[in-house]
């Protein structure tokens, strides 16, 4: 009986803990600089659903198509895209300066690039439960390096609270559908 109770206790402790780690502890708070050089926080985007992803622009050998996916999803949202803030947070603040992000994101007009000091970026990543790790330079040039990072897309509500996490490889129409489900009143559940 004691053993049974112990197991029961463990199960009760473990399952919510795992769920908490996956979902509710993504606070989504940040203090960063946008690509126009303005300081921004999650409060800056109050009133909008946010699509948030982490990455970097100097991909040395292959580049994820996540920003392409996001811009197609935004097109599919039509006028509703005005209710969405799409944020690309750099995990490579040394090379991804605001000016560089602005130039890079010319290719994705509805996406806002955010960067900051290494400490600010680390804090933002921590709050999203995102991990990233700068790799050793590939050759002699210390400026040529990759940054491994968590590949995920976060959807946050109008107050900046966590709603959902989707894989990087999600199809654009699935992302658009999910955002629509959150835009529609009383349809917050998947």
């Amino acid at each position: 009986m004691r053993r049974f109770l112990l197991i029961l206790l463990m199960c009760m402790a473990v399952v919510p803990a795992a769920r908490a780690q996956d979902d509710t502890t993504v606070s989504g708070r940040f203090l960063l600089t946008d690509m126009h050089g303005r300081p921004v926080t999650d409060e800056t985007y109050r009133g909008k659903i946010r699509l948030v992803t982490f990455g970097y622009t100097f991909c040395p050998d292959i580049c994820p198509t996540i920003l392409n996916t996001l811009s197609v999803a935004l097109e599919q949202l039509g006028p509703d895209r005005a209710k969405v803030a799409t944020l690309f947070i750099s995990v490579d603040p040394e090379r991804d300066t605001p000016a560089h992000l602005k130039e890079y994101l010319n290719a994705f007009p509805d996406i806002t690039g955010l960067t900051g000091t290494p400490e600010q970026v680390a804090a933002a990543a921590r709050n999203f439960k995102v991990r990233y790790e700068r790799q050793k330079p590939d050759g002699d040039d210390p400026k040529v390096y990759a940054v491994d990072h968590t590949a995920a897309l976060f959807i946050m509500d109008r107050e900046g609270n966590f709603l959902a996490r989707m894989p990087h490889m999600s199809a654009p129409d699935r992302v658009a559908d999910r955002v629509r489900s959150y835009l529609a009143p009383r349809k917050a559940e998947d």
Binding site: P60, T65, D141
Partner: protein
Amino acid sequence: MKRRAFILSAAALAAFPAAAAKGQRGLIIHDQPRPVAAIDIRDAESRAAGLDTLKGKPVLLNLWASWCMPCVAELPALDRLKPALDAKGVVLVALSLDRSGKVAVANTFARLGIKNLDIRTDENRVAAEKLDAPALPVTLLIDREGREIARFIGAAEWDGPPAARLLDALAAGNPLTPDMAPPPVRMGAAP
């Protein structure tokens, strides 16, 4: 306890799917040829230039975008390769996934001094999804029946001798082997 370890490791995996970031690279030869999804490809005059117009010819289909630096770094080699491929009867299609379509392509081509590649754009911006390309560049080797027989993930030295063997085999309809893989190209310096 086992369960706990399982849940914790599952949570850790979800938190850092390094596989997605690192992914597969290089030449992947498929066990079986695969059908290639139909994509609305347009030329510089916005006319239809889909793979269905190339029936009966082997195709090297390169997916690129102006925002993808390794893709852009690979374009000059593809440009040099094009006349030799034409002579072999292989059609080289460099398909841009750029949102701004031919404007982005024309600007990139002008900047790089591209002479031989034709402007090809992904009209509905679905190529990455339909061709299962979560990262760029990726180059599909398509046989004369219009089936994908292999793909190269990442940038390659397309105009060197190893690539020539691979492309000769594609042209002749001969089996591809792993030793035909062209060397990958990594960015030499941050531009």
